[in-house]
Symmetry: C2
Subunit: 296 residues, 2 copies
């Protein structure tokens, strides 16, 4: 398999189980396991459970009423141990982008409902006097729940629905890498990568907003929230080699870096499989191989 492309496969593995579409106001906003839908029968005034789909009850109209009902459900599910503990961090429930959200649901239950989740990843890079590119990488703290000790983008984090893209990015830049606000404001939004895969809790459908931040040669990132063990600055060719030949990076960071390599011409169109790679970075927002489950 093409060495870079295996990361796209890893982030979008074939589905091997059925999911039920979840609709709010007729719009497809998520996918749930049939077994999870069964557990929602206790909330008969919130959900309509059909054989082929889960619907938010039609009488729940408007962002606030829907969100309030889902909040009660999320707290109850957390209390019963069906989901992880309630986090009080609202995630968008949306058929498209964040701006099209129809309501919110707590982060602890978001994965079970298979809603799209949004994150921001920032490539911190330095351009040498000769034009050569170097990239700052973080190594995740060993006590992190997910991917302890793995390599990571300089700044990366989830995006709560309550914060704007700008505010959340500035916050993550400060917390994760000690980037002063004036410098962080120079980050350039450069597009998105998207992928989806089955995880333990449900169908993960992620959209990562990507940013490039050119850093002064004397800047050194400094972690303040304990999430990063150390930072290192590597020539871009070395970063490419790590992505190509190893699994040292947290899974989705590989896609963010491949996107960087493509946009900066480090990976050029003569690379075998280039087209599949470029197109593979942006998977459709709804997986096309998700077939509605036969029974509810």
């Amino acid at each position: 398999m093409q060495a870079y492309y295996r990361h796209i496969i890893a982030c979008n593995p074939p589905l091997d189980e059925p999911f039920l579409p979840w609709r709010v106001d007729r719009e497809l906003v998520g996918w749930v396991r049939p077994a999870f839908a069964e557990q929602l029968h206790d909330f008969a005034d919130v959900f309509e459970i059909a054989a082929d789909e889960l619907r938010l009850a039609a009488h729940l109209e408007g962002f606030d009423r829907r969100s309030a009902s889902l909040n009660v459900v999320a707290q109850e599910l957390a209390g019963r141990g069906i989901t992880p503990p309630f986090m009080d961090e609202p995630y968008a429930v949306t058929p498209a982008g964040r701006d099209a959200a129809l309501c919110v649901v707590d982060r602890a239950a978001a994965a079970h409902f298979g809603v799209r989740s949004f994150g921001q990843h920032l490539n911190g890079y330095v351009r040498g006097p000769d034009g050569s590119l170097h990239m700052w990488l973080g190594r995740r703290a060993r006590d992190r729940l997910l991917f302890p000790g793995a390599l990571d983008n300089m700044v990366a984090g989830g995006l709560p629905h309550s914060l704007s893209l700008e505010v959340n990015l500035l916050k993550e830049c400060a917390e994760e890498a000690g980037v002063p606000e004036a410098l962080a404001r120079q980050a350039v939004p450069v597009g998105v990568v998207s992928y989806s895969r089955v995880a333990a809790r449900g169908l993960r459908r992620d959209v990562l907003y990507c940013y490039d931040l050119e850093l002064p040669q004397d800047f050194e990132p400094r972690n303040t929230d304990g999430e990063v063990e150390s930072f290192m600055l590597l020539p871009i060719e070395d970063v490419a080699q790590i992505v190509r030949d190893t699994d040292e990076f947290k899974l989705n960071c590989n896609l963010v870096i491949i996107d960087f390599l493509i946009r900066h011409g480090v990976l050029d169109p003569d690379t075998p499989g280039y087209l599949d790679l470029v197109l593979g970075l942006r998977q459709p927002l709804n997986r096309l191989d998700v077939a509605p489950a036969a029974g509810g």
Copy 2:
């Protein structure tokens, strides 16, 4: 409709007629109108025509034998006036990228066979002392067959299978905009845009390799092949406004420029419909709404 997104729709309009898949060695390489497939019955040793697909005859093995047979067919089709006159310019017949070509077919017949075609578009831009971006645009000559007088990327051209990406880009840079080779070699490959639509001759499925070339402030493009009437340098915000509010650009140039605007953060993630726009620039290499025709 979102002002930028209408260009993605225009380049990928809904299909309103059936097409038959064309396969070489079981791989899907093109789509043909059933009426065109009918006209291939005269070449019984080259094609197998089934009710639901067109196949290159199985006995034609290898790149050279396949290409030689298709060359004879293309010359005959041109002679009968079924296609435009033979051009002696081989186009790749491929299930994926150029590097996966199974054979070639003459450009004059390529559109009828619905093969993927490849092009290169270059964004020539200037960065002001204050970091502001300006872009060079061309206005197409009034005697051009397609889109006479329309705005165009500074350099843009089709990509014959016989030329490498590098050689063709240097050639187009020299011919279309008088870019010296040393400068043209600084062009950075930055990805692709892809789209497909029904045209008079058949299903067009285009992949455009995109390049950014930062130009010195004193550089002035100069056309040498008569294809461009004039060039102009505009602030990037003005270019964005032309794309957003008018149809002055040749159809596919809009997508190349939208991609530039996204990669350089001129269009930021708070733009309504940003996600659809980013994902819409790269359509799957095979249209998912192409349904095989019922009859051959």
